[in-house]
Amino acid sequence: MQLDKVAITLRPRSAWTAIDLGFRMAATWARALWLPWLVLILPLALALTLALPTHPLVVALILWWLKPLWDRVLLHVLARATFGATPGIIDTLLAWREILSPDLFAQLSWRRLDPARAFHLPVAQLERQSGADAGRRRRLLRQRSGTHAAALTLVAVNLEMVVYTGLATIGAFLDTGVQLFPQAAVDAFGEFDAEWWTATDTLLWLLAILVIEPFYVAAGFALYLNRRIELEGWDLELALRRIGSGTSAAGRQPMLAWLLAALLVGLAGGMPDAAHAQPEQPGESPPTVEAEVLVVGKPGDEAAHSPGWTPQATPARAAAEAILADPAFGGSRERMRWRPIGDADKDGRRPPGGSWLGEVFGFLAEGIRILAWLGLAALIVAVVLALVRRLGPSPLPERRAAPPPPTLFGLRIDPASLPDDVAAAARAALAEGRAREALSLLYRGVLSQLVHRLAVVVPRGATESEVGRLAARTEPVLGSFLGDLLPAWSAAAYAGRVPEAAQIAALCERYPAAAVAPPEAP
């Protein structure tokens, strides 16, 4: 099992975009998803219809109630395709034992109406967790994506209804006297008679489930993956491995390997290389060991789906328990809640005499009264603040000009960094043959004067020639000097063409006199 084989882009996403990713996944792996599922559901639908020819609604309800079962087939394909091994239809059908194994009964009974069904399914089916551990895990996963998972289910239900009513409407248009298509959707607001749900309705509903369910399961799975990426930094693991490539963690067995192995527990038999977490040490540990690590729960379940399981694999179990003890698998959350104080008794005893409804309203009124007082206080504070601001002598401190920057164009231009007599220093540098430095000194001197003495504000991102124009506008002497200096400086600095010494010397002579005076602080 290697993260770099993952067939989706690893990146923490917002929950909605994760759901969109799920829709993309379903569309991409459409054939692998729909085929095995159709093979299962169509014969069953046919058999049920033949068995209960007079009760099409019952057939539809049975098919609908068995959705968690279909979801498991879909998730089986999705999980494997995500990790780079899209299974064929035969592989999928042969894996029925592990597809059905943990927690199916719960999902078909008391958790059938779980609003986050698709989002929770991987915990049971891929992580193979059940009982209290699974509950903790689901709570942790829900912390940031629970609302989105529920919204996804709600929307999926409605999309299903859109498909069903849409198809039924076509039926109504095609209806030319022969009762080929049902009246149910068309006459939804009409009277219901005994025939309001026909076998055709069942067929249309089944079609709607067929269209929407893979998208729904894939979106729930994508939401789940996104949460795992968020909690475990899968993308970061790849990037950090690149930083440390070759030198780091060669001998370590990352915890993620166990988690991923748990995610893909079923691959241990069918795809040994994919179940390997550490490509650096091939053959050191049989893949089944990793696959079993996270199987914690009731021993009876484990024996059922993992033939190589030995209950005395205690180090692995200890490691799994250590992982489960980690705060990542569930922690405490602080929640602030208002509680009535004052005359309400601590143990919630009501004073005798008052009616129950009256107390509720009394409590509400008290709350509103407190809110009103708080609101009034806030209003008064706001008014006072506004008055102080408007009428006060010097309401806001005057906006002080920002101190002039110490550098411009990456050159230091604060007066302290420059010699007292710039022109003399430039001449000296020129005499020693450092023509470039001489030019640089002159240029920095001029800029320093401009910014620090004349307090010209140079906008961020201004170019040299823009500064030249600014200078010309501020002080003509400085401007004309800068106008002559700039071409020479640009040629030297950017093109590496240092001008003639005579030209530089002339520039030194013309260096504006103001620079000789020590610049005053602005």
């Binding site: 969109d20 993309r24 999309l159 705060p327």
Partner: protein, 234 residues
């Protein structure tokens, strides 16, 4: 293995820059549609009381309002409100042109008037199927108008680098490496302690043997990269 699946698409601009757009799928768009439907419905209900009191003239006005709200209000919102109806805004969506440019009134009107093509004859089934099979999740109106519905802000919510004393990395980092370290620091609080350590240990070349716990070192390096003020300069 082929190219990894991603819901986001790249649009090349004439300047040779690739813009990354994240087209919104049916689920967020359906919720946005519901929000829009509800506010329109609410407005109509509220208007019904005074207008019905005005008799037939009021009823006429009411139907006119209904027509405008149904067909023109969404287009107006999209054209003049940064491509978002109130529902889209609530869901963080906006409509842009295919090349990522802002929406103008003409495509806005087109895509909204063509909503009937998605709606009829199958009560939005056509639009839904069109959205399901296309990578850009376009409904028919989007295809004609050349528009896309995209997520505005696709970053996961609220992340900051935990404050720590900055520590320069032992060697200059490449851009990708610096991004990785910053990303790690932002997300480290979400990982369990063991997982945070395990991840940080992977970046061994950036860690000093005597510099304390690995996650802390990486977070300090991230503070350095992010330009956090050191203690000396305040």
């Amino acid at each position: 293995m082929s190219v990894p699946i991603d819901q986001r698409i790249g649009v090349a601009t004439p300047e040779g820059i690739e813009l990354l757009l994240e087209p919104a799928g049916p689920v967020p768009r359906a919720i946005a549609w519901l929000v829009d439907f509800l506010w329109r419905f609410g407005v109509l209900v509220v208007l019904a009381f005074p207008l019905m009191a005005m008799g037939e003239f009021g009823a006429g006005l009411w139907f006119l309002t209904w027509f405008l709200l149904e067909w023109l209000a969404p287009a107006a919102f999209e054209a003049f409100n940064d491509g978002a109806t109130p529902g889209k805004r609530a869901m963080g969506l906006r409509v842009v042109r295919d090349d990522g440019a802002p929406l103008t009134w003409r495509p806005a009107l087109t895509r909204n008037l063509l909503r009937f093509a998605d709606f009829l004859p199958m009560l939005y089934l056509g639009g839904l199927l069109s959205m399901l099979v296309q990578r850009e999740h376009k409904r028919l109106g989007d295809m004609v108008a050349g528009t896309l519905v995209v997520h505005v802000d696709t970053r996961p919510p609220g992340r900051r680098i935990p404050a720590a004393a900055p520590l320069p990395p032992p060697r200059p980092l490449t851009l990708a490496e610096a991004r990785t370290v910053l990303d790690y620091a932002e997300r480290a609080p979400l990982f369990g302690a063991a997982r945070a350590t395990e991840l940080a240990d992977l970046a061994a070349p950036l860690l000093r043997p005597d510099g304390g716990p690995a996650p802390e070192q990486l977070i300090r390096i991230a503070n350095h990269l992010a330009g956090a003020p050191s203690h000396a300069s305040g």
